[in-house]
Symmetry: C2
Subunit: 197 residues, 2 copies
């Protein structure tokens, strides 16, 4: 479940990805050294280059892998919903649940966009926009069908995504609220904000 179909399966490569993801999330890409990553994996720094040509490639792979999995997971999940009302609630719940389960990848994919070289940025940004478009489509259909009422569909979609993704900034495992309760709160706020509840 962890890698895009064409690439080779190497346990060390996957360990490197995991270590890099954790360090990028905690320290930031620019502040993380290849030596730190090697230490975390338990290999010598030079060994990393048997699996990734550059540090930038490592970042790109980590981010692209996350976006691919996110999109694939939503494409799967979205088939459960037919009307915009259920679709929106489904999206909210999916987004929160999925993101809370992978806070490192989410955080890195958001914070490290500016550390991507131009070509890599376009690739990742395209995936991010595609995902955003999934929500925008739901909102647009709801507006067309009269279930929702918003002044501006693209802005509403961006506002909602920002609100939902914000959960990752404060959620802590074992906190006051369960994921399910959090989903409920956000689902209600999201639907209301579109004039649908």
């Amino acid at each position: 479940m962890a890698r895009k179909s064409g690439s080779v399966g190497s346990e060390t490569a996957e360990n490197i990805r995991q270590a890099a993801l954790g360090l990028f999330a905690r320290e930031g890409y620019a502040a993380t050294s290849m030596r730190q990553i090697a230490d975390a994996v338990g290999v010598q720094p030079g060994a990393l280059y048997n699996h990734f040509a550059t540090k930038q490639d490592l970042l790109r792979e980590v981010m692209a892998g996350h976006m691919q999995q996110l999109i694939a997971a939503w494409e799967e999940e979205s088939r459960k919903f037919s009307d915009p009302f259920a679709g929106l609630e489904g999206f909210v719940r999916f987004h929160i649940r999925y993101h809370l389960g992978r806070s490192d990848a989410v955080f890195v994919s958001y914070m490290e966009l500016r550390n991507l070289e131009p070509e890599n940025f376009r690739q990742i940004e395209g995936m991010r926009k595609y995902y955003e478009g999934c929500l925008r489509k739901i909102v647009a259909e709801g507006v067309k069908g009269g279930q929702f009422s918003v002044a501006d569909v693209p802005v509403a979609a961006m506002a909602l995504i920002a609100m939902l993704t914000g959960v990752t900034a404060w959620y802590r495992t074992g906190g006051r609220l369960s994921v399910d309760e959090i989903e409920n709160i956000y689902a209600k706020m999201a639907l209301r904000s579109l004039g649908a509840a």
Copy 2:
């Protein structure tokens, strides 16, 4: 308006702050070098240390200055509003307008929290929480007075702040919508999300 009251006024110091702010926003703190900052200001790298003891001090000052000004601006603005309904709409409009006018400072203050050394982090995080508390108080009062209905006041406040701050991620000067139109959209969504419209 730019500096805390006790400190000395030096044009070069202010130029350094401005250059650092721009570079931290564009490249990130860790990816920005003192040499770059010096280049941008038009002085030699060593000269920076006549004004700031370390790079970390520069970050702390930039972030603390922004938070201080943000809080002071809201304390001033908030006196205009008496009831929770007007207060919430006022907060939304203020937050968006203020943030869109200082996107660099906002971006840095959000993204570079993890690059603050522990003591500096506590200082800045305290100010951020104080500001968040301003919104939470408005929501709480509205719930108490029956103007709003939310399942969880702290979560609602955090969700709203995330939604509002998200504007900075997509807004571009001269875009399709004016700041005023954007304020209108978000104000309506925010009020609705609390069951108040």
